[in-house]
């Protein structure tokens, strides 16, 4: 006991991010933030669309052409994915805020559902878009 009192004990350190094993609920949390930031850019694109519409047919055609370009389509698909992910995971957060589904088993299950929903809903919307000639 006397020896331990003289030397400074190594304090336990909080594990650094890089040695954490990835788990589902961690991924859903990070994706919520990333998709939120992506939708920030998406909302600015939406605002640009509204401004182009008010500018007239030429500006609107130009803006629509930009969105329909290969890069534009990739961005639009990413935004679709972000929209459905953030929407579903946002509801998951609201359920948590109401005090439900906070145990590990429920949180893992809802997390897996949210990922699956985002992918399936995005693919479905793009299938509909292709069918009605929106792409």
């Amino acid at each position: 006991m006397s020896e331990a009192g003289k030397t400074v004990r190594e304090r336990p350190m909080s594990p650094h991010l890089s040695i954490w094993r990835w788990h589902l609920t961690m991924a859903t949390s990070i994706c919520h933030r990333v998709s939120g930031v992506a939708l920030y850019v998406g909302a600015l694109i939406l605002a640009g669309w509204a401004v182009a519409l008010a500018q007239g047919p030429a500006a609107y055609a130009c803006y629509k052409g930009l969105l329909a370009s290969p890069l534009g389509l990739v961005v639009m698909f990413g935004l679709t994915l972000s929209t459905f992910y953030h929407l579903a995971n946002g509801i998951r957060h609201l359920v948590w805020d109401a005090g439900h589904g906070l145990d590990v088993k429920s949180a893992n299950a809802s997390g897996a559902f949210v990922f699956a929903f985002a992918v399936v809903a995005s693919l479905a919307i793009w299938a509909i878009a292709l069918m009605i000639g929106a792409v």
Binding site: G36, A43, L46, A47, A50, V51, Y60, T80, I125
Partner: protein, 130 residues
């Protein structure tokens, strides 16, 4: 030197600013409003993407579409301002950098929100110029 100030007197004014709950509830209520608005927005985006300029103008002139679009824009910009604010507060810890980014975030959201809402209203209120 003994201080004659009571512990309560010293602690006063240093705690929470008393509006954290309002901010928290505002984030949740805007999220709740965005659930139906976003679903409607996806439906609207599909229809607008399938049509051209004339369709988009006719679409925006419908009072229901114009109203829901203005609400979607207003609530979205409110919600994303609150969201990015939390992100900035989490990662930026210098007073100047944090303040500058928080103000930039606010200005970008208010400017883009005002521009887009005014644009939708302009199209909605313009008669027969399509």
């Amino acid at each position: 030197m003994a201080s004659y100030r009571t512990p309560l007197s010293r602690a006063r004014g240093l705690g929470a600013a008393k509006h954290g709950v309002g901010t928290w509830i505002g984030e949740r209520v805007s999220a709740l409003a965005l659930v139906p608005l976003t679903l409607w927005g996806v439906y609207a985006a599909l229809r607008i993407a399938a049509g051209g300029y004339d369709f988009a103008v006719a679409w925006a002139r419908d009072p229901v579409n114009a109203t829901l679009m203005v609400l979607l824009l207003a609530v979205s910009f409110w919600h994303m301002q609150a969201g990015l604010r939390v992100v900035i507060e989490d990662y930026i810890h210098t007073t100047l950098g944090k303040s500058a980014l928080l103000i930039l975030n606010l200005f970008v959201c208010v400017l883009a929100g005002a521009l887009s809402i005014f644009s939708i209203l302009k199209v909605a209120f313009t008669v027969g110029a399509s």
